[in-house]
């Protein structure tokens, strides 16, 4: 498992190639969304929906060998692309690493300009939910 830092740097490099080409960036995000494994229908439950997103985003988590595993899905392709980035960086990391991480790739790839302020808020909700899960697992380990 690569570190959060390493994966973020890869993503920053990938987006640098797209430079300021907005159309290419959007298409790239959609391709990423296409490639992401779909969440099984059984997990597309209302309780897995993330609040604060304009489109529907489902997030399912699991915990094995002190690693938090994430699977996610959305009803829009661009959002799938966005969450695929988060899954790529954070799924398989330890709770502590997830809780303490600074996701600076968001600023470095100019996410705000790409997706606009309303979707940025939704994206922030996703990250918050991911960190909440990590904190939950950490607490569970501590008390067991």
């Amino acid at each position: 498992m690569s570190s959060i830092r390493t994966i973020q740097d890869q993503i920053i490099d990938d987006f640098e190639l797209l430079a300021d080409d907005r159309e290419a960036t959007i298409f790239y995000l959609m391709e990423l969304g296409d490639k992401m494994t779909s969440l099984p229908e059984a997990y597309k439950l209302d309780e897995n929906l993330i609040k604060g997103c304009q489109s529907k985003v489902w997030l399912h988590s699991d915990f094995k060998d002190n690693r938090v595993l994430f699977e996610a899905d959305s009803n829009t392709d661009i959002t799938r692309g966005l969450i695929s980035l988060l899954v790529r960086i954070l799924s398989g990391q330890t709770p502590d690493d997830i809780i303490n991480t600074d996701l600076d790739f968001i600023e470095k790839i100019g996410m705000g300009q790409i997706i606009g302020s309303q979707r940025s808020n939704g994206f922030a909700s996703m990250i918050k939910q991911i960190k909440m899960y990590a904190l939950g697992y950490k607490t569970k380990v501590a008390i067991s």
Partner: protein
């Protein structure tokens, strides 16, 4: 020459029209802006921007009751807009035009005053299944308060209502029928002439939500004989924050005031307040003076082109767009009414409207995506939302071609 003939003979000089809208020179994401979100709000001609600047630069003042020169100038300009609106919708008297902050407030005003006075328990209010939330929620609130019942006329697959359904629903319990003249999500123009005569024969008053109609077609409140009509300035090249409510004098006079405050009173003592005459009875507080004044320039702009010319030109744009869209595989038009304004809702199989909207935006094309404040209508078509392109008089055929090409390219990527 007869003015009517003169108007028809003139055609739209699109270069001259576009030159009046500074924002159309903008580049978006490296492409020239193609603005197709006109049903949400239109862009403003320089004359409207200038009128606003001129008011704040040279004669800003509170209106009515001022004795100084600025107050006089501002009052005159404010009331000139009222006259312009009266003539624009052909109301009998200018006192029948009330300024509000928008269509929503105009509808709320009628629900809160006429509704308060004349709707009782067990009474019914009729709307259609294609209404904007602004023409649903105020009536729901009224029904809840009064124990009245909201009845909804269903929509066909083409996005139209059947007059027969209205006939079945009307009864002596019906107190208000409130329908859109043109649908914001589908473009459908409703058969309001029939709706009005049938509803009035049943003893109801009729309110028209004309927000989408006024910028695109001739609307004559006397010929229609509607009781109330609501619209927004910002959807017809004017500023945001200004709406109009037309109401027949005899109804407005019977209605209690909407809000209390300055302007709407005749005499105030601590024991009792008497109310001003219409329209001021419904215009409590300092109104949006600058924007109301600038609104007149928007009306002048529409009049300078001629409503019939605008309608004919926009029909050309929408017909061209529909033809282009029908030839694209995987594209489905939502709403195919024969009578329509220049609003086109569509979806692409296997693709979410948000994704389509963002891809179009990446090439400088502005559309609206989502439920268009008509969630019940989206439920009716079992969809989450649509992509909506809505045209104004400054849009061009080459711009529509850009839209068709871009949608065609996007549809080519769709999985559906």
């Amino acid at each position: 020459m007869d003015e009517e003939v003169n108007t028809i003979a003139r055609t739209i000089d699109i270069t001259a029209v576009r030159a009046q809208f500074p924002i159309l020179q903008r580049q978006v994401n490296g492409f020239p802006l193609a603005y197709f979100d006109n049903a949400a709000t239109t862009q403003k001609p320089q004359a409207v921007i200038d009128a606003l600047t001129n008011y704040y630069t040279t004669y800003n003042s509170n209106i009515h009751r001022g004795v100084h020169a600025l107050a006089e100038e501002a009052t005159t300009a404010f009331e000139q807009t009222r006259t312009a609106v009266q003539q624009f919708v052909n109301a009998r008297e200018e006192e029948e035009i009330i300024f509000t902050k928008g269509t929503s407030e105009s509808i709320n005003l009628v629900a809160a005053t006429y509704g308060k006075a004349f709707v009782n328990e067990g009474d019914e209010i009729i709307i259609t299944g294609m209404e904007h939330h602004s023409n649903i929620v105020p009536w729901q609130m009224l029904c809840e308060e009064k124990g009245a019942v909201l009845r909804v006329i269903p929509i066909s697959d083409s996005g139209e209502i059947a007059i027969e359904d209205l006939k079945q629903t009307l009864s002596d319990k019906t107190k208000i029928v409130s329908v859109c003249l043109a649908s914001n999500a589908l473009g459908t123009i409703n058969p309001v002439k029939d709706i009005i005569s049938l509803s009035q024969a049943a003893g109801a008053v009729v309110m028209l939500d004309a927000a989408q109609a006024l910028p695109h077609m001739q609307v004559d409140v006397q010929a229609l004989n509607c009781d109330f009509l609501a619209a927004s300035a910002h959807k017809m090249y004017g500023p945001t924050g200004v709406g109009i409510l037309y109401g027949k004098r005899k109804l407005l006079e019977k209605m209690p005031p909407y809000q209390g405050g300055g302007e709407m009173i005749k005499e105030v003592t601590f024991a009792r307040t008497t109310y001003n005459e219409i329209p001021f009875k419904f215009e409590a507080g300092t109104p949006n003076i600058g924007d109301v004044i600038a609104y007149k320039s928007a009306i002048d702009f529409i009049n300078s082109l001629g409503k019939k010319n605008i309608a004919a030109y926009e029909d050309e744009l929408i017909d061209h767009a529909i033809k282009g869209f029908l030839s694209i595989d995987k594209v489905e038009l939502i709403g195919t009414a024969r009578e329509r304004v220049s609003v086109l809702s569509f979806s692409i199989k296997g693709m979410h409207p948000f994704d389509i909207g963002m891809m179009l935006d990446a090439t400088g094309i502005a559309v609206r995506t989502g439920h268009h404040c008509t969630m019940p209508l989206m439920d009716r078509f079992a969809i989450e939302g649509t992509v909506r392109a809505s045209f104004a008089v400054y849009n061009t055929i080459p711009e529509v071609d850009r839209l068709i090409d871009a949608v065609s390219k996007i549809a080519g990527r769709a999985k559906g």
